[in-house]
């Protein structure tokens, strides 16, 4: 390992090796790595909660008239009565599954965990720009989580107006039967917004201003690029949601009528504000996953990322387009059809950068030396599943087709191919990949591979048939589909989907077991188990407080694998001095 010559950096990081209290070290820590691990545990917990809600929902969809919910007795009468899931609880399940997954599981897992963990390490700095704000961004999530869980147990139950909170349904308790639950969720949303904004300020500032010497923009790993762009999206989109959410709270509590037509307000205004946030949010949920995938594919293929610059440009253009396409969620909402025209065109063009990325990922694998470990399998799985999710998006972008498939299960299939097959696959990959850095031990490979194949098979069994159910015309969020003439004959498919969903949920526990088992029993990892080039692998696992003995100096691009001039190994760390490692490389 090339250690950096002191004069090259001019500055050594002060090591605060003095004893910190347990509270300061593990609970109210300002160390970005500890905060990332806190986020990881938090989000894995809510991933399980969100999954549990989905299981209850799937049970109801598959067997709407059966009752007999297993363990139904443990739920209060207001949720499950004599084995039957009640419609009000079903609406809460639909709403909170979406809300919890988007806001408390996937988004903080992509950004809270990995932006926190990777930005300082991959950029070669000792911590975030504002460590205390960073700590606050985690602790703002805690009340959000508590309020969310508590909302299930208040009078009227948890929010039941869908995760999109369409007013007036979300604004008038008399129309849903949900009062306090809706307000609690909105307050939680404001906390989430605060957390996300504080986090984003940190990520952006750190990336702009605290890169290690030599870490030029075009030497940043694609993970950092994607997290940086994501932070910009969150920074500009989240405040709009906060503002809209606060107005919605006022509509419910102090008698305003921003979104209530009786008082002159406009329901469509809510949708515009929500989707102005919501579409960038969709990219917040996928861009980091794209970054992890690029990184893992490059390491696992032992090749540089194919078309690095094109990848960066594609990220930037997706982010830009992300702000001008929100109307495609509203094609059938009654907005001005002229707006529909503009939004169709801008939306379809998002397919272009997405295609560029997909082809470049394939280009990265092409003529590689593929190491098919669990992380790599999930990354490849991401590309395969994201492709399906991206392609099914073309149907919706084409407005006439959207007339039919809007608000059907086709949309449900699409969003899950992107958010589960996309984001969550990449997240599993990222956990398998960076776990050794976080905890110093490898996760068990055999369990990892079994987990991948179970997830892959069950995932497709759950969500691919939903395209068909959607084509038949099954509407989203219905408690019981059996009453409709056009939905006759889909019961068996729905039952198959539900059984597969149970399998998918169960395979999550294999992952959880592997996660905790490997903490103690996993193989010791060493600093760089994957022979990777980026900076985080050039410091011990787990890195000490402050990350580096001396700030690294960057000499190379982020993914220099299998360089022909490097003789003895197939990788060239970003901070390896060319004259020390390979004189030949210098003359290249």
């Amino acid at each position: 390992m090339a250690t950096i010559v002191a004069e090259a950096t001019g500055q050594a990081i002060l090591h605060e090796e003095h004893e910190q209290s347990f509270l300061r070290k593990y609970i109210f820590s300002t160390d970005h790595k500890v905060i990332a691990i806190q986020f990881l545990i938090y989000t894995l917990f809510f991933l399980m909660i969100g999954g549990l809600l989905a299981m209850l929902m799937r049970y109801q969809i598959a067997w709407p008239a059966r009752g007999e919910l297993p363990l139904g007795g443990i739920f209060p009468e207001s949720m499950v009565a004599s084995g039957y899931i009640l419609p009000e609880f079903y609406n809460a399940l639909v709403t909170m599954h979406g809300s919890v997954m988007v806001f408390l599981a996937i988004m903080p897992m992509l950004v809270g965990v990995w932006a926190n963990y990777l930005i300082p390490l991959q950029l070669g700095t000792h911590d975030m720009a504002f460590p205390r704000l960073n700590m606050l961004s985690f602790w703002a999530m805690v009340p959000a989580g508590i309020l969310t869980l508590a909302s299930f147990f208040v009078v009227g139950g948890a929010a039941g107006a869908g995760w999109t909170l369409y007013a007036p349904l979300s604004a008038r308790p008399d129309l849903t039967g949900v009062g306090l639950g809706q307000i609690l969720w909105l307050v939680a949303l404001v906390f989430i917004g605060l957390s996300s904004i504080l986090g984003s300020v940190n990520y952006i500032t750190t990336t702009i201003n605290m890169r290690a010497p030599g870490m030029t923009w075009m030497r940043m790993p694609l993970t950092i690029w994607s997290l940086f762009i994501t932070a910009i999206l969150a920074l500009l989109a989240m405040p709009v949601l906060s503002a809209a959410g606060i107005m919605l709270i006022f509509d419910q509590t102090i008698g305003t009528s921003f979104f209530l037509p009786e008082g002159g307000g406009q329901p469509l205004l809510w949708q515009h504000l929500f989707w102005f946030f919501g579409h960038p949010e969709v990219y917040i949920l996928i861009l980091p996953a794209m970054g992890f995938t690029s990184e893992i594919l490059s390491v696992g293929s032992r090749k540089p990322v194919f078309g690095y610059k094109a990848m960066v440009l594609a990220l930037v253009s997706i982010a830009f387009l992300g702000f001008i396409v929100w109307g495609h969620h509203m094609f059938q909402s009654g907005m001005n059809p002229m707006l529909g025209l503009t939004f169709t065109v801008s939306t379809l063009f998002i397919a272009v950068p997405s295609a560029i990325k997909t082809f470049n990922w394939m280009g990265t694998m092409w003529r590689g030396n593929l190491q098919l470990h669990s992380a790599m399998l999930f990354a490849i799985g991401f590309v395969a599943m994201f492709a399906i999710g991206g392609l099914s998006g073309v149907f919706m972008a084409s407005t006439p087709v959207d007339i039919y498939i809007h608000d059907t299960y086709f949309i449900v299939a699409h969003i899950h191919y992107v958010l589960f097959g996309g984001s969550l696959f990449a997240l599993f990959g990222a956990i398998y990949f960076w776990y050794p850095k976080m905890f110093g031990r490898m996760m068990n490979e055999t369990m990892g591979k079994i987990h991948f194949w179970l997830t892959f098979v069950f995932f497709n069994l759950v969500f691919f048939p939903m395209h068909g159910v959607g084509m038949v015309g099954m509407m989203r969020r219905i408690y019981d589909s059996t009453g409709y003439a056009h939905l006759q004959g889909i019961e068996d498919t729905n039952a198959i989907i539900t059984w597969a969903a149970f399998g998918l949920f169960a395979s999550g526990f294999l992952f959880a077991f592997n996660f905790f088992w490997s903490l103690k029993k996993g193989r010791k990892a060493g600093a760089n188990p994957w022979n990777a080039t980026t900076l985080e692998w050039q410091t011990p696992s787990p890195p000490k407080h402050g990350n580096w003995e001396e700030v690294p100096v960057v000499y190379h691009g982020p993914h220099e694998y299998s360089h022909p001039d490097v003789e003895d190994k197939d990788w060239l760390a970003q901070n390896e001095r060319p004259d020390v490692v390979s004189p030949a490389a210098g003359s290249h």
Binding site: P87, T176, V305, A355, Q371, A387, P400, V472, M475, A485
Partner: protein, 223 residues
């Protein structure tokens, strides 16, 4: 379950279905290309001891190819979609002499107001029927969609019609059924506890049958 769109009974449905299948073919080809490629690469370039990957940072020519080709396909698709969309929803294409109905959604029913024999809304012979939508075949139909409380969505799968009903707005929707038959209006937007049973029957009559039905309803409603 058939993996198919339900049979189509409207004029707009023809183009919508056509577009659906066109996109399915295009995306199907892309799907095979990508998934096949991934599978092939996984098998062909599986890691072997001592093997070294091909060192490349990419190819500008390839980047241009796979930017331009999708962009062209997308542009054509976008232009065609926009034309069809304008045809179906553009306010300038609203049929002038259509038979008009008022449809008001509320938790959890559809109230349809019929124009009566004089074929105009807002006159004395109008009458309202709950959860029953009757109209004649092969005639331009325009419904004025409203909502009393929350957002609902007016969805008739077989006619390929879907439009949100937004409180405070009156949204015109037009279509033309090509065959007689019995269908259902479903609510496609979560509207509360009874969302799942917010359905109404749709009956497409021949012109003569519709007149007869309307005549049979009108006296009852007039009282």
């Amino acid at each position: 379950m058939d993996w198919a769109l339900p049979p189509n009974y409207s004029t707009f449905g023809v183009v919508i279905d056509q577009l659906f299948w066109i996109i399915l073919v295009i995306t199907g080809i892309a799907f095979l290309l990508v998934e096949g490629g991934i599978l092939w690469f996984c098998l062909k370039y599986r890691g072997r001891e001592g093997a070294k990957a091909h060192y490349t940072h990419g190819s500008n020519r390839l980047e241009i190819i796979w930017t331009v080709i999708p962009a062209i396909i997308i542009a054509v698709l976008g232009a065609y979609s926009a034309l069809v969309w304008d045809d179906i929803k553009g306010s300038s294409n609203r049929p002038a002499d259509a038979l008009e109905f008022l449809v008001v959604g509320k938790q959890f029913e559809w109230n349809i107001t019929y124009p009566g024999v004089d074929e105009t809304l807002g006159t004395a012979d109008d009458f309202t029927v709950r959860n029953q939508f009757h109209f004649p075949v092969n005639e331009d139909i325009t419904i004025l969609l409203e909502s009393e409380d929350v957002i609902h969505s007016f969805f008739i799968p077989e006619l390929r019609v879907k439009q949100d009903a937004v409180p405070g707005m009156t949204i015109p929707v037009w279509f033309d059924a090509t065959q007689t038959g019995n269908f259902e209006i479903a609510c496609a937007e979560l509207c509360g506890l009874g969302h799942y049973y917010m359905m109404a029957s749709v009956t497409v009559h021949s012109a003569a049958d519709f007149d007869a039905w309307q005549a049979s309803q009108a006296p009852a409603a007039a009282q």
